[in-house]
């Protein structure tokens, strides 16, 4: 193959391109087939961008964690525990932003717990976080009695409350939901970290060949720990945004997100074995998952179809990305 395979060819065979094409196809499909084209209605787009972004923010962290070779199945449970912490602090009338900071910190600590068990105990993170997934969910249900509890920030009516709500749930320029802004911002920050910062090189090296990374003096345990903590802190952040939006605490929140996040990363071209993937792909993958979930609702297709579609999209993405990978190697030869 030629040295400089044409731009078009390179564009077509870049991983993120295939994800983008899938996303565009799905969007067109929903736009055309939803009754009265309701999918592209501004109200629906706003719902999509705010609701979907909550899940997607966490998926960004999960994707990065997967690149360094670990999983986190406990994100939904960290989220619900953080929400509960927020509720309790709120009921104690702590200053709102202090409450938010503590909630994010608690998320980070729960991520740290996952990391320490995994790294110190030498336990596969799949197992570690399966355990903490059940533990934190169960613990939260136990403490909360499994009930929905009102947690209405806007009812406070203080200036702090309105700052808080516009920070997490406002609309930028009256259009763009704040959650989506945060999603995009986190994607950029994590993207720079992953692709341009030396830490990113350590993340890839750790996931790609841990022994080589260690031999080159990279503290792979520390790299993994930081990735786990980032995921946990993102869960804490989303807990704040979600409570602000829903004005209540529910112990079901985040249920099933763990596999959706893995799916988002895989759709975005992240390898399950680590060492491969990129932030743009993860961003698009997470968006794709949110779009499917929203689109099926708008199509008025019974919710039960959702997972059938997820399954198809995941299988299609994995097959196509394997094909692209092979083509890329041929191109390099």
């Amino acid at each position: 193959m030629q040295r400089n395979a044409g731009f078009l060819k390179r564009f077509l065979f870049a991983r993120s391109t295939s994800v983008l094409l899938v996303l565009i196809l799905i969007v067109i499909f929903f736009a055309v087939f939803s009754p009265e084209h309701r999918f592209v209605d501004p109200d629906n787009l706003r719902v999509l961008l705010s609701l979907g972004a909550e899940f997607s923010i966490i998926a960004l962290g999960v994707g990065m964690l997967m690149i360094c070779g670990e999983f986190d199945l406990s994100i939904g449970s960290i989220l619900v525990f953080c929400s509960f912490v927020f509720l309790k602090l709120f009921e104690l009338h702590l200053p709102l932003f202090l409450t938010a900071v503590v909630t994010v910190a608690v998320g980070g600590v729960l991520g740290l717990v996952n990391a320490l068990i995994t790294v110190r105990g030498g336990i596969p993170s799949f197992i570690t976080t399966l355990g903490t997934m059940m533990f934190w969910r169960g613990f939260t249900i136990l403490l909360s009695g499994g009930e929905q509890t009102a947690c209405n920030v806007s009812a406070l009516g203080t200036p702090a409350a309105s700052y808080f709500l516009s920070f997490f749930n406002g609309q930028i320029g009256g259009i763009l939901p704040a959650q989506f802004f945060w999603f995009a911002l986190f994607a950029v920050v994590l993207g720079v970290l992953l692709h341009y910062h030396r830490f990113g090189n350590w993340v890839y090296a750790t996931g790609d060949n841990r022994d080589a990374a260690r031999a080159m003096g990279i503290n792979t345990d520390w790299v993994k720990t930081l990735c786990f903590v980032i995921v946990g802190a993102l869960c804490g952040f989303v807990a704040c945004a979600q409570i602000g939006r829903l004005a209540c605490f529910t112990s079901r929140t985040g249920d099933g997100w763990e596999l959706k996040a893995v799916a988002a990363s895989v759709v975005g071209g992240t390898s399950l074995r680590g060492g491969m993937g990129n932030m743009l792909g993860i961003f698009l993958g997470a968006t794709t998952i949110s779009v499917i979930e929203n689109g099926l609702v708008v199509l008025r297709i019974p919710y039960f179809w959702t997972y059938v579609f997820f399954g198809l999209v995941i299988l299609f993405s994995v097959l196509s990305s394997m094909y692209i990978e092979r083509k890329q190697r041929e191109m390099h030869r």
Binding site: A205, D211, A215
Partner: protein
Amino acid sequence: METGNDFLVRMVGIHKWFGRVYALRGVDFEVRRGETVGLIGDNGAGKSTLIKILSGYHQADQGDIYFEGQKVKIRSPRDARNLGIETVYQEQALAPNLSISRNIFMGREPVRRLGIMDKKVMDEESMKALANLGLRLRSPDLPVVTLSGGERQGVAIARALHFKAKLVILDEPTVALSVKEVEEVLEFVRQLQREKVSVVFITHNLYHAFDIAERFVVMARGLKMADVKKEDTSPQGLSELVLKSAFVAV
């Protein structure tokens, strides 16, 4: 025997247990400045354990290490690297999906402000380091997985050279390579010799070792069985030494 400081590294009375396995039973091992030592012996002889102690992967249970005449403690691969000891492991040297330049600077990335990598410097220096070794590759952005086995060893050795290693440990660098690639790798080692870098060359293949080493250390069952200069032996002689030492009762 020489004394004093023409030794780059001296390991004295090294003992190592793994649980109930007595892997090293009081081994002395030294490498002079600019010298290439062939470390040979059968599987399970203790070669890798000895070398992993030197490169910071394991710690000796007993015994001392002197580097450039100073007693040192090597507690991690990072410690070893800081001393100037680079290890090129067969399968463990490179991250296959990362680019050549990212591999060469792995763990020692040149950065601009705020830890952002200086990709330009990384790319230029990578190509320079490879060219130094006589290796011309198309682009520093190629993932290592697309290279041939010989080229991969070249990338790892170029990395050692670039960071001014004083001692390069090559752990079975010619396993699973074609004849042409083996010759390529041996040529890389000769380049290390020209740059006065000390080399420890671990191998099963006595002929590859004989080609380039000046001295041979034969190990068996955790003991050093022989230490001979090249001029005092031959590939056949070495082969007999390895065989004999494997069957000697301890």
